[in-house]
């Protein structure tokens, strides 16, 4: 299976090779080490009693019956936590979140009482035996109603006494308004991107272990960011940081859902401190779906101005963001609406103005990623829908409109009107490639034929630009901690490597791809490189894995650390070759005497010498560490084309073909990149056609289990077709951009554009996602098709 590099000089497992994954050995045998697989001596189990109400005053909590359940050892209430100053905890966005409520619950399924027992079943029995009296309060689930005058105030603890959290805006308001006044053509559209849930196959959980004798606190935890979590724990609890160890074992998918600190982690920690024993908390799927942080929930109004010949000029966007009862979004601290201002997309808008108002509602926290870099999906969906709406208004082909407007390749680095400097791109190249693969012209002919016969076929395009790899320390921090990431590389005497990283794979294959970067940089086969992540005691500090940042940051750190090693190794090589350092160059994976390439030393020979025969006066050893502060974000892009057929009898949308042309810069492992795209596309399909978390007027969640929340199966998922263009990032050491999320970001507008295109005969301008059959059926039965 492994494709060898075409050049004569290559290293086994270097960059560009589809080597098979190192981590698979354990997963294939059922020997992964997920948090629920870990069992510690004397371990107890935590279960949680949750609120049936979305908003209610707690008038009494009675735990006597729970404490009488055989096996139950302790209960923990909000009042217990309040005494320790832990009833509330800070969020990443400088808001605060309840660990356990003292007197009021603010969303359905909120944690109310923790019950600790000597078995999983006894803990569940205990949680069911807790009695809580509630007095229901008025519920607000609609963010527009929440922001209306006279709405019941959800967060009475805040001095503002309002459901308005913040207003954020960027761009040139006056200039944008002026552009719109002067424009020849404008289009506008309301777009709702509903609340969705990441639903990683593994739910969240932890084992907290306080060692009262040594004062050491260890937590095995489903976290994408173990180091940042350790610091947050230290700051919140006052425990000395060196006594806190956060271990992120194998993670069964993250997608942003394992970035936040959930109440369960903290309750388990308190329970361990209280009992002196390890305490395991593993949420079940319903708890995971109902109470863990959600994504999206953006109500967007967008307007685009253009010339009558189809050149876009200005963009105006006004958004209401539903954050639930607290702003616990997982964003860089300076960006309350994330990187939503990538919304000008692949087009050179001269003017733009974007504003977002955030609201509290009686829902669990929102604002996490769902496989996306901080609101980039919302931005891409908006601009790529608006381009189609503009194309329709101008009666031009959506591909032609895009090709007419794209930022041209020669314009890079390109400064967008909202302030980003795009590193590199060739947008027309990607779209033309996708059009060629799918035979766009042929599809349009087929569509015209089908329309004559009354059949519904649609073609949708999305030409997205992402912004990932957070991020440069001038702008990017989380609670003040700069968003660098790290690699520590040690070459041992026999030429084998252990490398440790500040990130944490959740299935992305870091153990393989990082090894490939190091293999390429150091000439040591990937098989001889062991990659470790996730233990805050051993790995260098880093901000973790989310927002497609691992390759742009820690992957870059791997290269930089390797190059530091090469500098020292070159001196050792010169010593071994008995020439001056200036006469030695690193070429074709070895140190060679300039002009005499056959006179050479391998990195393995140098490594041995670094411990056995290093030059006098030089330190022994061969290792380096790098904390990489990226000079810019990276801007992956691509063009997707989707073909749908709609069943007129049922309203069912069937994705017939989907061609994804991605450009993520240099490709480290083509097999893994394709796997990331396949998964990302499926998580783009999901909210387009299937997934939505809804609430009724009383704040009852609909979709609180996999019976109701429709994660795509193999039946709904089409056979994805992928292709690549390669436009390296000019500022990344190996030119890579990150790829884990592109497809989730890029796919939804392609699918929706295709469905709306199919329904053109019915005069449809827009359908909000998810486009389930009932929505389509209503359109088909609202009246006869319009002509023209």
């Amino acid at each position: 299976m492994s494709a060898e590099a075409p050049t004569p000089a290559h290293v086994k497992g270097g960059i560009g090779q589809s080597i098979l994954r190192k981590e698979d050995a354990r997963f294939l045998r059922g020997k992964g080490n997920y948090v629920d697989d870990i069992k510690l001596p004397g371990m107890l189990y935590l279960d949680i009693t949750r609120s049936p109400y979305a908003h209610a005053k707690i008038t009494a909590i009675r735990t006597e019956k729970a404490l009488k359940v055989p096996g139950v050892l302790a209960v923990i209430t909000g009042k217990d936590l309040e005494a320790a100053g832990l009833a509330w905890m800070p969020t990443l966005m400088s808001d605060k979140q309840m660990v356990l409520p003292v007197d009021t619950v603010m969303y359905q399924a909120q944690e109310v009482v923790g019950v600790v027992a000597d078995s999983r079943y006894a803990a569940a029995d205990g949680a069911a035996a807790v009695e809580v009296d509630y007095e229901p309060l008025p519920v607000v689930v609609d963010p527009f109603k929440a922001l209306a005058p006279g709405a019941p105030v959800i967060r009475t603890d805040r001095k503002e006494q309002s459901n308005h959290i913040w207003h954020w805006e960027t761009g040139d308001k006056a200039g944008t308004d002026e552009s719109f006044r002067a424009s020849e053509v404008t289009v506008s559209q309301d777009l709702y991107i509903p609340r969705i849930h990441v639903s990683s196959m593994e739910t969240c959980g932890c084992i907290a272990q306080m060692d009262p004798v040594n004062g050491r606190f260890t937590i095995y935890m489903t976290t994408q960011a173990p180091h940042a979590i350790r610091t947050v724990f230290a700051l919140v609890t006052g425990l000395p940081e060196q006594n806190i160890r956060v271990i992120s074992p194998d993670i069964g998918g993250g997608f942003g859902g394992k970035v936040p600190v959930y109440p369960g982690y903290v309750i388990a920690s308190v329970a361990s401190i209280k009992t002196g024993r390890p305490v395991k908390w593993i949420e079940d799927r319903s708890e995971n779906l109902q109470a863990d942080s959600f994504a999206r929930d953006y109500h967007i109004h967008a307007e685009v101005a253009a010339t009558k010949d189809g050149k876009v000029t200005a963009l105006k966007v006004k958004t209401v963001a539903d954050h639930g009862y607290t702003d616990a979004a997982a964003n860089p601290s300076k960006f309350p609406a994330g990187l939503f201002h990538i919304i000008t997309g692949s087009y050179p808008f001269a003017k733009a103005f974007v504003e977002v108002d955030a609201a509290y509602t009686n829902k669990p926290p929102g604002g996490i990623a769902y496989r996306c870099s901080f609101r980039v999906t919302e931005a891409v969906y908006t601009i790529e829908r608006m381009m189609d709406i503009l194309a329709h208004k101008l009666k031009v082909d959506p591909a032609e409109l895009r090709l007419k407007n794209f930022i041209p390749p020669e314009a890079f680095p390109f400064k967008s009107t909202l302030g980003w400097t795009y590193d590199s791109g060739n947008y027309a190249g990607a779209l033309k490639k996708a059009m060629e693969i799918i035979d766009y012209a042929g599809l349009r002919r087929e569509q015209a034929e089908k329309r004559r016969k009354g059949e519904l076929m649609g073609i949708g395009i999305s030409s997205f630009t992402e912004i990932v790899g957070a991020g440069p320390s001038q702008q990017f921090d989380i609670l003040g901690i700069k968003m660098f990431d790290s690699a520590e590389v040690r070459i041992h005497p026999t030429g084998k490597i252990i490398a440790r990283f500040g990130t944490k794979s959740q299935g992305q294959g870091h153990e393989t791809t990082y090894a490939q970067i190091l293999a390429e940089e150091l000439g040591i086969p990937a098989d001889d490189i062991r990659v470790e992540e996730g233990d805050s005691d051993t790995a260098p500090y880093g901000l973790g894995t989310y927002a497609s940042r691992s390759t742009p940051t820690a992957g870059a750190a791997a290269s930089m650390a390797a190059r530091k090693i090469r500098e020292k190794a070159r001196k050792i090589a010169a010593h071994l070759l008995e020439v001056s350092v200036d006469d030695v160059e690193w070429k074709d994976y070895a140190f060679r005497v300039k002009g005499v390439p056959s006179k050479s030393k391998t990195m393995q020979e140098v490594a041995f010498a670094a411990y056995t025969n290093h030059p006098q006066g030089m330190e022994a050893g061969l290792e380096a560490i790098d904390y990489y502060d990226p000079p810019n974000m990276t801007f992956p892009f691509g063009s997707y084309i989707c073909v749908v057929d709609i069943d007129k009898d049922t309203g069912q949308v069937k994705v017939r073909r989907f061609v994804a042309v991605d450009d993520c810069g240099t490709i480290i492992n083509p097999m893994i990149v394709d796997g990331q795209i396949h998964g990302g596309l499926t998580m783009g399909l999901a909210p387009s056609l299937l997934e939505e978390i809804q609430y009724d007027a009383d704040g009852n969640i609909h979709g609180g289990s996999f019976m109701d929340y429709l994660v795509p199966t193999a039946i709904e998922t089409p056979r994805w077709e992928t292709a690549k263009t390669v436009t390296p990032s000019p500022h990344h050491p190996i030119g890579a951009k990150g790829v884990g999320e592109s497809a989730t970001v890029g796919a939804p507008p392609a699918i929706v554009n295709a469905v709306v295109d199919a329904l053109q005969p019915y005069g449809v301008e827009h359908i909000d996602i998810p486009i389930h059959p009932w929505k389509v059926w209503q359109i088909l039965h609202a009246g006869p098709p319009k002509t023209g």
Binding site: R29, Y34, P70, G507, H678
Partner: protein
């Protein structure tokens, strides 16, 4: 794997002094196991916590996701909705029982070669379903594979490479050719 070489000693008990325990005798991956459990003990908890075979995962509790799929008398079942007592006197095969004599099964080998797994959490259940499918039909079409794994959710792979892997495994089973290198 060692699991088939010797009887597995019960590692722990799930009982907490509540309901009276019952004795369950199950053959797991070829080895007899006897343990005292609460009558309500789910087969998945029995496997994971009593027997200590943690390769079988829990993903949903409602039999939608299939991460807990094992074979009961050769038939795939979702062990989160089977009681341990229902397995009494019967044979259970888990992911740990796929590898024989240090050699990956064709399904395991094909998942490796086709990159049919990412986070690995759904993989054991997916492979058990695939193994059961291929025992009946070693040359399934794309549609037949997708139909067979419709009860197994994967959030990472988009199923493309899982389908390819299952078809490749079928080919491996059909041909006598030895499999390639194992991970």
């Amino acid at each position: 794997m060692a699991a088939s070489a010797r009887p597995i000693a019960p590692a722990a008990s799930l009982t907490s002094g509540g309901a009276p325990a019952v004795t369950v005798r199950v053959t797991i991956n070829g080895s007899p196991v006897t343990a005292e459990v609460e009558p309500r003990t789910l087969l998945v908890h029995f496997l994971r916590e009593v027997v200590g075979l943690t390769g079988t995962h829990i993903g949903c509790d409602t039999s939608n996701c299939g991460a807990c799929t094992v074979h009961l008398d050769g038939k795939p079942v979702k062990s989160c909705t089977v009681l341990a007592v229902q397995a009494n006197g019967r044979e259970v095969r888990t992911v740990e029982g796929l590898e024989v004599g240090g050699k990956l099964s064709p399904v395991q080998q094909a998942f490796f070669e086709e990159h049919g797994l990412q986070c690995g959490f759904c993989t054991p259940g997916m492979m058990m379903t695939a193994t059961a499918l291929l025992a009946k039909n070693s040359n399934p079409t794309d549609a037949e594979v997708r139909d067979a794994i419709r009860g197994n959710l994967c959030r990472c792979t988009g199923y493309v490479n899982i389908v390819k892997a299952i078809q490749l495994a079928g080919k491996k089973m059909q041909s006598a050719a030895p499999a390639g290198g194992s991970p």
